[in-house]
Point group: C2
Chain length 228, copies 2
C-alpha cells in the first residue's frame, strides 16, 4: 500500500521503517527535503540522530515535500509535532488529502513554558477534532498517541503485547481500516474504539499522566492495559 508519513522525527522514522519492512511503499514528508537532508548532527533538544544519518540505512523510504507525500499516500499518517500540525496540514491543503484516511498521532504538547509541558489544546477541544474540522473530506482517525514510538509499531516488545491502544473517529470504515493495520500489521491485540472524534480529548489529555509516569518509572517504555 502507498503510505505517507508526515514528519521526520523519531515517530515518523519509526513508523516509516516498520511500514517499509512490512512491504508498504512509504514516502516521508517534510517542509524542505534539502534542509532535512542537510541535518547530519543530532537534534540539540531530543538527541535524535540527524535525518541524513538515519536515511543512509533506510534509502527505500523516499523523502519528499509534505504535499508530495500526501499525494503519494493512499493512507496518510500525521507524525508532526502537535504545535505545528494545523499549519502543516493547512499548507498541504484539503484537495491532496480528500477521500483519504489520515491517522492523527499528534499531541499538542507545549514545551515553551518549561518542563513538564502543558497542552496547547485541551478539555473543550482536541487536536484530533481540529484536524477533522480542517479536513472535512478526509477520514481522520486518532490513535497511537498514547505510547512511545517503539511501542506504537512493536507492541509485543512489552509484556507480550498485553496492553491497550485506543482509537476514535467519526468514520466507521476508516476506523476498521486502521484497526486492521494496527492489529495485523503492528501486532496490537487490544484496541478499544472510544467512539467519535470528540473522544480524542481523552487520549490527548492522558499525556500529562503519561509524562508523570515516565518520570516515576524512569523509562518511556511502558503502557497501560485496560483491565475489565
Amino acid at each position: 500500500m502507498k503510505i505517507a508519513i508526515l514528519g521526520t522525527g523519531m515517530v515518523g522514522r519509526t513508523l516509516a521503517e516498520r511500514l517499509a519492512g512490512l512491504g508498504h511503499d512509504v514516502q516521508i514528508g517534510t517542509r524542505s527535503p534539502q534542509e532535512t537532508m542537510a541535518r547530519t548532527s543530532p537534534d540539540p533538544n531530543m538527541g535524535t540522530p540527524g535525518f541524513a544519518t538515519w536515511h543512509k540505512d533506510h534509502a527505500n523510504v523516499k523523502l519528499v515535500r509534505f504535499e508530495e507525500a500526501a499525494r503519494h499516500g493512499e493512507l496518510v499518517m500525521n507524525a508532526t509535532a502537535g504545535r505545528a500540525t494545523i499549519e502543516i496540514l493547512s499548507g498541504i491543503g484539503q484537495e491532496a488529502l480528500a477521500g483519504k484516511t489520515l491517522i492523527d498521532i499528534s499531541n499538542s504538547l507545549d514545551f515553551s513554558k518549561g518542563m513538564p509541558p502543558t497542552l496547547l489544546v485541551s478539555n473543550t477541544d482536541s487536536l484530533g477534532e481540529a484536524v477533522q474540522r480542517l479536513l472535512p473530506k478526509t477520514r481522520v482517525v486518532k490513535t497511537l498517541n498514547t505510547v512511545n514510538a517503539e511501542l506504537m509499531v512493536r507492541p509485543a516488545s512489552l509484556a507480550k503485547g498485553e496492553h491497550t491502544l485506543f482509537l476514535c473517529g467519526d468514520d466507521e470504515g476508516a476506523k476498521a481500516q486502521v484497526r486492521t493495520l494496527l492489529c495485523e500489521g503492528f501486532g496490537w491485540t487490544d484496541v478499544i474504539d472510544l467512539g467519535g472524534m470528540r473522544a480524542a480529548r481523552g487520549t490527548e489529555m492522558y499525556l500529562p499522566l503519561w509524562i508523570s509516569l515516565w518520570g516515576a518509572l524512569k523509562t518511556p517504555s511502558f503502557s497501560i492495559r485496560v483491565v475489565r
Copy 2:
C-alpha cells in the same frame, strides 16, 4: 483511627462503610445533617438511594456538619463533588484541618454543559493543587480519583487486584501514611507515586478518557494496569 469523610454521595458512603468495617471510627460530614437525613428517595440524577435509607444499615457512621467531621478526623478524606470542593473546604477553614493529612479524591467534572462533562480546572492547574494552596498547613495527598467507588475500597474485586492506583502530593510522610491505608487497608498492590502535587493535573485530566472508556465498555467497573 478517627477518620472524617466529607461528602455523602456514593463515594463518601462506600469509603465510610469500608473504613468502619476495618474498625475505624468514622464520621461523615455534610452541609446540613438534618437536610441530608430528610432525603429518603433516590437522587434524581444519579439514582443513588436517599442517605437516610443507606444510614439505616450503617448507623455506626455518625453524620455531622462538615466542620465537626473535620475536627473529629485525624485523617480527612474529601469525597465532595469537585465543583463544590473549594467552597466546602473554605467553609471548614484552615484551622480545623491544620496538621492533618487530607486525601483529596475530587474531580472537577462540569456537567452543566451536557454530557460528556468537561473539567472546570485542567492543564495549567488542578483541584489537588488548589486544595493544597487553600490549606497550606494541611498535608494533601491526591489519590483514588481514577477509579469508581467500589474499586477504590475493594481493588481485589477486579482481576485479582492486578491494576494500578496513583498518588501524588508534596509531603512524603503523608504519602507514606496514605499508601499504608491503601495497601494494608483496602488491598491495593500497585500504587505509583507520581511525585509532587502538580502531578494531580495528570490524574484529573485522565477523567475524560475514563468517561469514554465507561461508554465503550458499558460498565464503570474497569481500571488500568501500568505495564512496564
